[in-house]
């Protein structure tokens, strides 16, 4: 996905951060349905094994819960390449939730964001020495203030940061692909009721994404700006200033609490994930979404978030993760997994 122009060429952001890109694997088949999604993962797995054979990494570090990470876990496990997983053990909706648990079975070290996730990994039969509670590393850059300033946001997005605006990010839900159009229409119609600017970020390339993307473009009005992909610091800068975030992106649960920004979380994509006080859940139904946005934008609700903590950690995860990876390198026990249950 990071190599697709239609998804905003995320690889450039990785390069701009000073990383070397060792391999560029083209894997996305046309179609954006369940079959192309599964087959694309197969393409990725076949290619990635060759990458591992060539690069022979000390560690493979996976973050998240998508099919690509699952393929990485399988490739590493079968080749006895040390592999660790960030944000392990959480519950999430969609097929991603299944992928996250499956990744857990293959990896050698688990980095859990909170106690809930750590306990789940232990219950799932993982050995205690493999499970480390470190928080979610996405929060590190928030704590360090690595996001665009209000003046940068104003200049780049042509919006007045002192006035309310809404950030909207909606992905298709793979299990409910047939309803993707109705779901995005409900969100669009609900957001139209609010006379404030909207910044839309386009969905990832999961099954059903094409119809979501096309509907957003087709239904856009002059108070909406649309972006295929935003630089992470801009996305965070926008989120910090937004009156609320609407949709089903995990960032509404993960990053938004650090900024104390209300999040209207729609449908089941994030269902069962640990939520902070900033999250208001609603189904894909216009009136329910409108009501949730009204609550989210109210002064009373915003004030209620002033003292909230982020349930995904304190923003000091990266140094903990590096420390654990260094200590466990070439640990004899590491590559031979025993399931305790």
């Amino acid at each position: 996905m990071q190599l697709l122009p239609s998804n905003g060429l995320g690889v450039n952001e990785i390069l701009a951060d000073g990383f070397e890109v060792e391999d560029r694997i083209y894997m996305s088949l046309e179609g954006h349905n369940h079959f192309t999604m599964a087959k694309s993962l197969g393409v990725f797995l076949a290619s990635f094994v060759d990458t591992l054979a060539r690069v022979k990494p000390d560690w493979l570090l996976l973050a998240g819960d998508r099919g690509e990470q699952l393929m990485g876990a399988i490739a590493a496990s079968y080749t006895y390449t040390p592999v660790a997983h960030i944000q392990a053990g959480e519950l999430s909706g969609n097929i991603d939730g299944l992928a996250r648990h499956a990744i857990g079975k293959f990896v050698h070290l688990h980095f859990a964001a909170n106690e809930d996730a750590r306990d789940r990994l232990l219950k799932l039969g993982e050995e205690e020495f493999r499970v480390h509670m470190v928080g979610a590393p996405q929060l590190d850059e928030l704590r360090e203030g690595r996001f665009s300033s209000p003046s940068d946001i104003a200049e780049r997005f042509n919006i007045d940061p002192t006035q309310p605006f809404m950030l909207v990010v909606q992905h298709s839900v793979t299990e409910e692909m047939a309803h993707a159009q109705d779901q995005i229409l409900a969100t669009i119609q609900a957001t139209h009721r609010f006379q404030i600017p909207k910044i839309w970020v386009m969905p990832n390339n999961d099954a059903g994404s094409e119809v979501v993307r096309n509907t957003i473009i087709k239904e856009r009005r002059s108070d909406s700006q649309i972006f295929a992909n935003l630089r992470r610091e801009d996305y965070l800068g926008l989120m910090k200033l937004a009156r609320c975030i609407v949709g089903n992106s995990s960032s509404g649960l993960l990053e938004a609490p650090s900024f104390k920004v209300p999040s209207v979380n729609l449908g089941r994509r994030q269902s069962m994930r640990v939520c902070g006080a900033n999250v208001i859940n609603a189904d894909f139904e216009v009136e329910a979404i409108v009501q949730a946005i009204e609550t989210a934008m109210s002064d009373k609700f915003r004030e209620s978030l002033e003292l909230m903590d982020n349930p995904y950690g304190d923003g000091c995860s990266s140094s903990r993760i590096i420390d654990i990876l260094q200590k466990n390198y070439r640990n004899e026990k590491l590559l031979i997994k025993q399931l305790t249950y």
Binding site: L4, P5, N158, K218, R221, S222, I226
Partner: protein, 123 residues
């Protein structure tokens, strides 16, 4: 005083290819084209976007949809005064003018903004 442009000189259909966009751009001298779908503005494609696409391995017959910019500047009225700071800050050469439903009403080009500035300087 804004010029009334002949809009087909500046637009390319969303179903088109990079080749279609290049044809429009080479005749409109504005270094960009506006991508439309049934009169609705859906994106902008600039010479830079096309060069990036070609450098990235796409050919001129690639679908425009994959290479147009969804995030672009637009105006709600044909105002050269409003267009000038956008062009100055972002180095853009063509701005669509849209109505509330994002139907294309007109365009503002860099050359007309420069001519407008020149007339102001002279007076």
């Amino acid at each position: 005083m804004a010029i009334i442009h002949f809009l087909p000189d500046y637009t390319v259909a969303r179903s088109g290819t990079l080749f279609n966009a290049i044809s429009i751009i080479q005749s409109n001298h504005s270094r960009a084209a506006i991508v439309v779908d049934h009169g609705k503005v859906v994106g902008v494609v600039s010479e830079g976007d096309i060069l990036r696409a070609l450098l990235g391995g796409s050919d001129v017959h690639s679908p425009l949809d994959d290479h147009m910019q969804l995030g672009f500047c637009y105006l709600l009225e044909q105002s050269l005064t409003d267009a000038f700071p956008l062009m100055l800050l972002r180095g853009i050469t063509l701005i669509p003018v849209v109505d509330h439903e994002f139907q294309l009403l007109g365009v503002v080009t860099l050359s007309e903004v420069l001519r407008w500035l020149q007339s102001r300087l002279q007076s």
